[in-house]
């Protein structure tokens, strides 16, 4: 088994999905990707990720609904941390999510790739394998 951190990346814009995928792979992470809400939920119910990067606006089922679902029914394998991907500045929805087990959020349009990777790294380091 490789000691690479496993990241599940959910983003509906394919260009951004590929961009974040390349950034994460270049930084040495093992990445699985998904571009819609329903498949994302299935994968997350299976679990087994160090980090899930979860877009809020998704076709099929949005990120916040997915969060509610996996809170009701815990994943088979643990998901160590979750970061929300959003286009909006912090608002009440995000504030609530942060209280409900989400570890952070990334404002896509504001974060440079360095900041994006720094946030990922910080979150993973803050959650050592228990």
């Amino acid at each position: 088994m490789s000691d690479k951190k496993k990241i599940f990346l959910v983003e509906d814009d394919d260009r951004l999905l590929q961009l974040y995928n390349q950034l994460l792979v270049a930084d040495g992470y093992e990445v699985e990707t998904c571009n819609n809400g329903l498949d994302a939920l299935t994968k997350m119910q299976e679990g087994g990720f160090d980090l899930v990067l979860l877009d809020i606006m998704l076709p099929g089922k949005d990120g916040l609904e997915i969060l509610e679902d996996i809170q009701k029914k815990k994943p088979k394998n643990p998901i160590r941390s979750i970061i929300l991907l959003t286009n909006l500045a912090k608002n009440e929805t995000i504030a609530r999510a942060l209280k409900n087990g989400v570890d952070g959020y990334i404002i896509k349009s504001r974060y440079s790739p360095e900041e994006f990777l720094a946030e990922v790294k910080k979150t993973l380091e803050g959650k050592p394998i228990s």
Partner: protein, 455 residues
């Protein structure tokens, strides 16, 4: 006897004189009451139809005339359109005819035998002993005849209603006697009433124009806000992608980049960066204008935030060989506000200082707390701002003249406007102190105990 006759006739004279004076008083009182009612109605009625209806009713009832009507020239139309009328209560048939026909009751402005049209064109009062000259072709000759007979109208007088050069409408009053039998008083009062009527119509029409123009403007403004908001949202995602891929190409290229390629990519990256800052500014503005900008209040250390901003901007300062310093108080300053937005404000003002201060210049950020207020002072040795320019600083899209135009890197002109709005929302203020050729000091003043509540 002669003496007695004399005194009788003197007494008669006095009595007559008294009677005359008394009549004048009664008439003057009548006129005052009438005008008073018209002015009252003018003050409360802001709708053209309602005002006209009330005016004609007041005139007909107060002066005891059998009936009257008003036609108005519709904007852009070559005709006078029936607008309102009033007839004695007993003439129900007349009311019925007018009521059922009013939608298509009009007379062409080319119909030069109609008295309403004539008075409208000639702008003077006209009289007739044939009421049909007023009623036809507003009504068919048959209907007009019925009305004249039922109402026993034998004459009519018509006034143009206008204000200055604004020819608005025409008023007709019907009588059961010859026009020559109208008293001097009646003619005089009608004249005055026509003048007041013209003023009232002009006023209410201006009001209605303004109201509809205002409504249209409000709608356009809302559309603009929505457009800006949607456009900016839609622009964000592709912009983020472009910026990201350019960064990838620059920083994670599997093979070394040729120098020219690297330079070109850097320019592309920086331009995209600028573009996305503009999009963010536009979005913020559209939120401010739509009252949708919300503060995310939390408690934080303002001292630490200031230090962070200083560190962030130090690189830019050193490439311009600017002596960039920060002065912080020895202890943290706990402040409750929107951390990200306050950060933007400090970056904004300091960024401007960096932009405009020439090489080898000096910039300092000083954070201080005096009693209940916190001041963040950003002082530079830039070109300074003239007194005339100072008041333009915080306006939307403001770009200053003078030395500021020499700076190539121009922004949206929204930065200071946004900064001021955000500081205002925090209950603070911004001060500007500047001398041309010496430099500028901006001060952000924030109340330590803000009224904002942390979430």
């Amino acid at each position: 006897m002669i003496m007695a006759d004399q005194s009788t006739s003197q007494l008669q004279n006095v009595t007559q004189e008294l009677y005359k004076k008394n009549l004048e008083l009664v008439n003057a009182n009548k006129e005052m009451t009438l005008l008073q009612r018209l002015y009252e109605s003018m003050a409360v009625k802001l709708n053209l139809e309602e005002l006209t209806q009330e005016f004609i009713e007041i005139i007909v009832k107060q002066l005891n005339f059998p009936g009257g009507l008003v036609t108005i020239r519709q904007p852009g139309k070559q005709s006078l359109q029936y607008l309102a009328s009033d007839f004695e209560k007993k003439n129900q048939d007349i009311h019925k005819i007018f009521h059922s026909k009013q939608a298509d009751m009009h007379v062409s402005l080319h119909h030069d035998t109609n008295l309403l049209v004539k008075a409208f064109h000639q702008q003077k009062e006209l009289t007739t002993e044939d009421p049909l000259k007023v009623l036809v072709p507003l009504l068919s000759p048959e209907n007009a005849k019925i009305i004249a007979e039922k109402g026993e109208f034998t004459s009519a007088i018509t006034y143009p209603l206008s204000f200055g050069t604004h020819q608005i409408a025409a008023l007709s009053i019907f009588f059961r006697r010859n026009v020559s039998e109208l008293s001097h008083f009646e003619r005089e009062v009608l004249n005055r009433v026509a003048t007041v009527f013209g003023v009232a119509l002009d006023r209410v029409m201006i009001y209605q124009d303004l109201k509809s123009a205002n409504k249209k403007l409000k709608m356009l403004d809302k559309l603009k806000d929505e457009f800006v908001s949607i456009a900016s949202h839609e622009l964000r995602t592709p912009l983020t992608a472009v910026k990201g891929y350019l960064w990838l190409a620059l920083n994670k290229s599997p093979t070394p980049l040729a120098k020219e390629v690297e330079t070109n990519l850097k320019i592309a990256h920086d331009s995209t960066e600028r573009l996305s800052r503009m999009v963010e500014d536009m979005l913020t503005i559209s939120r401010i204008e739509g009252n949708r900008l919300k503060l995310e209040v939390e408690e934080f250390d303002l001292s630490e935030l200031t230090k962070q901003v200083y560190d962030e901007l130090s690189i830019r300062a050193s490439t311009k060989h600017i002596d960039f310093t920060v002065n912080l108080p020895p202890t943290p300053i706990h402040y409750k506000g929107d951390k990200e937005k306050i950060r933007e404000c400090i970056i904004n003002i300091t960024g401007n200082a960096l932009k405009f201060t020439p090489e080898q210049g000096k910039i300092s950020i000083t954070l201080a707390q005096v009693r209940e207020s916190i001041t963040i002072k950003i002082a530079d040795t830039g070109p300074g701002i003239s007194a005339e320019d100072k008041h333009k600083l915080f306006q939307k899209f403001s770009k200053l003249d003078s030395s500021y135009q020499k700076v190539k890197e121009s922004g949206t002109g929204l930065g200071l406007y946004i900064t001021k709005q955000i500081i205002d929302m925090h209950g603070g203020s911004i001060t500007v102190d500047s001398q041309l050729g010496e430099g500028t000091t901006f001060g952000i003043v924030l109340p330590l105990k803000s009224k904002l509540e942390a979430q």
